[in-house]
Amino acid sequence: MGWAIDVIILLPLGAALALVTLPRAGSASLSRPLALGVAAIEFAFAIWVAVAFKTGNAHAGFQFTTRQSWFGPLGISWYVGVDGISLFLVAVTALLFPIAMASPPVRNSPRAFYGWMLLLESACMATFLSLDAFLFFIAFEVTLVPGYFLIVGGEGPRRAYAATKFFLFTFAGSAFLFVGIIFTYLLVQGHEPHGTVDSFNIVALARGTVNLPVTDQDLLLVAFGIAFAVKMPLVPFHTWMPDAYSEAPTGVSMVLAGVLFKLGAYGILRWGIFLFPLAAVQLAPLALTLGVIGVIWGSVVAAMQKDLKRLVAYGSLAGVGFIVVGLFGFTSQGITGGILEMVNHTLVTGALFLLVGMVWERRRTYAFSQLGGLQRATPILGWVFMVVILADLGLPGLNGFIGEFLVLIGTFITHRWWAVVATSGAVLGAVYLLWAYQRVFHGPAQAVNATLKDMTWAERVAVAPLLAAIIFIGVYPQPVLSRMEPAVDHLVAHIEAADPGFKIPAKARGHGTFVVPKDQVVAVLGASGPAPGGAGSLKTASAKRGAK
């Protein structure tokens, strides 16, 4: 069944290439239906994978894997697959793209707009699904190019500045990732007694990285971390973000904030914490502090914005802060909550940018001073906006609360005070979101605002799936959580095994065992006796740490 994953990555890529080869004359009318059709098929595949995905502790490893040697001598391969961590990120990405593509391009020609969007979708999917560090790096980098051209296609006066800033920032971050991957590869090779044929394989790398000297692990995690922190973005690497989001057209803001954002958060979990668990535990106070700062900084700065779109952009900063706080708690609840927050953030921020776009369509401005009293003329838009805002500020019964609560309760167990400070985000979030709502929808309606048109049917259809997912995850998160948990439990066990001094109480770690994820190719750590990188080498790592 692995071909499903291949299709998910390659289908949009193929469609993008097809669009480019279309004759210029026919492309204008053809490109939109083609792109939307492809995105819909993509979504169907993603749903099918999510439904067919096996749950339970026996299926903690990767599913739907395919593996094809690509660049043999270096051990680079087309190795893709999905597990509980990436499953729902793929699903919501596939959900968000068609909705984002439904909003019209602004400056790009239709062909360029849909072509770049499809390429971006393909690259995002590949980033989530690749299990080969090299493939991951390519996919991660490729997202920059369509990102740049899509931002430039926006309507704002500073769009070129914003796009360039976006590109340079993330490109600079990627340099660290590049160096990090090379060194990881080289160092693991150097420490591997038998050598190996597939050393860019994530499982093989994870098996090797635990043998590295502790300082090496720390440095490598920092290198990976910087790249991902820029992409997420974490304070203080964030200043490209508000410009990029607010200058881009609606559909692009949706995928930038909804999906691209998540590449960094996903990366730090999959390639940072997983490859360097010991370093992650050591550096957790730093990461948690940055996360907590993000929560507070994002909310406070968002509250003071004079522009609705920039407010939403800064609000995402707070969302990312919560994700980081959850991931670096290293408990099942915290990490599950962190992943769920990524999913939620895609849904909620995506929906928010979509709705903000609808306000723009009607009023041609984002400035709070020009808005106000919209609820009178557009009650349905007001209701939908309210539900999304409530999800964002964490009202129980909607998806945001489940993620936020799990993040906080999980991290509270291992890193109490960070969780306590982050909980203040519950108040700050309410402040900036409700204030924004008040300034846009409440109060007396000025002349123009009193006669706006309410949501059209097309707009309702566009936002309905997001709203449905927001409510479903809030009311009945079990199907989602049960698919995430096995992979997360194993990851938690992996972290705990890497640092014998770090104890996670039973209630916070589920039933994971001390292995790198089960995989049909790589031997289970510790279970196969003399396997290199077994318990013995764990001891050396910790002994070195003790000596330090």
Partner: protein, 670 residues
Amino acid sequence: MVNAAYVVVALPLLGFATNLVFGRRLKEPLAGWVGTMAAVGSFVAALITWVTMLGKPADQRVANLNIFTWVPVAGLHVNAGLWVDPLSLTMILFVTGVSSAIHLYSIGYMHRDPGFDRFFVYLNLFLFSMLVLVLADNFLFSFLGWEGVGFCSYGLIGFWFQRETAAVAAKKAFVTNRVGDVGFLIAMFLIFDHFGSLNYRNVLGTLVGGHPVGLMAGAPGAIPGSTATAITMLLFLGAVGKSAQIPLYIWLVDAMEGPTPISALIHAATMVTAGVYLMSRVAPLLHYAHATSWVIASVGTGSAFLAATIAATQDDIKKCLAYSTVSQLGYMFMAVGAGDYADGLFHMMTHAFFKALLFLAAGAVIHAMADNQDMKKMGGLARFMPLTTICFVAGWLAISGIVPFAGFWSKDAVLDSVWQMNKVLWAIGAFTAGLTAYYMSRQVALVFMGKARWSEARPEPVGAAVSGHGASVHSGGDHEVSEPGLPAPSHAGTPHDAPWTMSLPLVLLAIASLLGGGINFSAFGHFDYLSRFLSPIFPYATAITLSSGTKWALSLVTLALCLGGLGLGLRTWRSAEHPALEPVFLRRAWFWDAVVSATVSGPLRAGADALAFVVDGRLVDGFVNGVAGTLALSGRVVRKLQTGYLRTYAIGIGAGLIAFLAYITFRVGS
């Protein structure tokens, strides 16, 4: 038939969904009847559940009904489940009962409001949330209801959202509540950390384990006093927010911007009592946390006294009642602090009856006065609105603690247990009882007696009523009048009583205010039905060991104080002008609200502004742009990029990858 408890919760949810989807088409009054029927049906189901439970022996009146698994992650397992026991039964009975009356009243009150269906959407959602809050079998599901009622309160305070003050008040209420909710959340984290569960049975059951009558009894366990204190203090922070106690009471007065039935239902009878419910629920934890009990009793006493002094100086009929609510909630917390949970709940119920009555009657008055809320511009209404007057008088005597009205019995019971705890707290409480009688009599005198001052006030435009309350800028009429195309609610001619949908609830609540004390005559031996019904759930409740002589003496002293206050209030306020009795610092609520507002809009806002535009905008962004500049990436190069030479970079990525491959090949090859 314990399963009727499912129906209790399901009906309001169904009513909510129906009105949400079809409300626009159902229109007035059908949407209102859908909502009202859902509430009444829920009340009937609650009665069935209660009768079923009464059929069982006292120590088996408990049922745990699971609906579905809500949040399962590793050791955290949270169900959406219901917990039916005497405490939750007491709560659902009075919540659905009072709620039904207020739903009915609203059909008349919201007549011709353009948001009629929206009103009932919120009202049913509120009822559903409140029922989840009290029926949930774990902290997290309760928290769902807790936040749900908070949201409905937000929506209903801002119901007339076109009024700027209403929008601001709604936000203030939500945010202030959220401050308390942070306490609730962190308390849950601590509970999970210590007990590994959030279920009431697993958490509280271990603490009452082995106790002969503990309904939740599980394996015996204990908890360090410091942990119990931390958990209960944090939960109490949540309760202080929701129940509007010092220092978070500031939102409740502004909440009066909402329609009057909301003030009655949410901001007097039910939602604000959630804090008292929560603290009663965790009574087994409080047993291990003496410090918290003292804090609860002190905050309660302080709030009772402080709010009563403020209520004595307000001109706005609703704000006066709002401060009175803060004060009465203070009494409930006094009882909880003293360990006398049953009497706290007793006072909660009687208060629900008489305060809902007072608010609804005030609503009828406001209607008759063409939305004027200034009591100084009323007077002499007894002649024109006889039924409303009689009902209001019942509420007045009940809250003033005059025998035999309900308030007398419950307030007396509360003060008895406080006497046993601490005499100073008792003295403040007893004095406040007299003060209560005084300010309520002032209200009755101003509104219903004396000269009719409204005839000269009539020509003034609606909403021009100037309230003496400085913190919130203006208190307009109760109804949205800026609605163009709709006639402003006109009540030309003389004021008159309200239609039957509004009068019937008034009469029912008036009867309850008169006879409600009968559910718990703790003064007379065996008539303490409520206390006995609740006793299995409070195995650790403090026993009241006062002699009946002491009780009689205390009752007489309190009653004397109440009668004194009553007489003084009536005598003084038959003519409306006594400015000397309304010092500015009381009219402006001890300036606390002003201090908070000044802090938020002053230094806090300036700091946030600096963070947003100086630190974030100039320093951080400036720094990275500067770095880019010194790296010569800006200037000409950036300008070049801006004109579309990014292709170069795309090529750069490609070239980099090739170089990388070459390097690796070289390494591997060597």
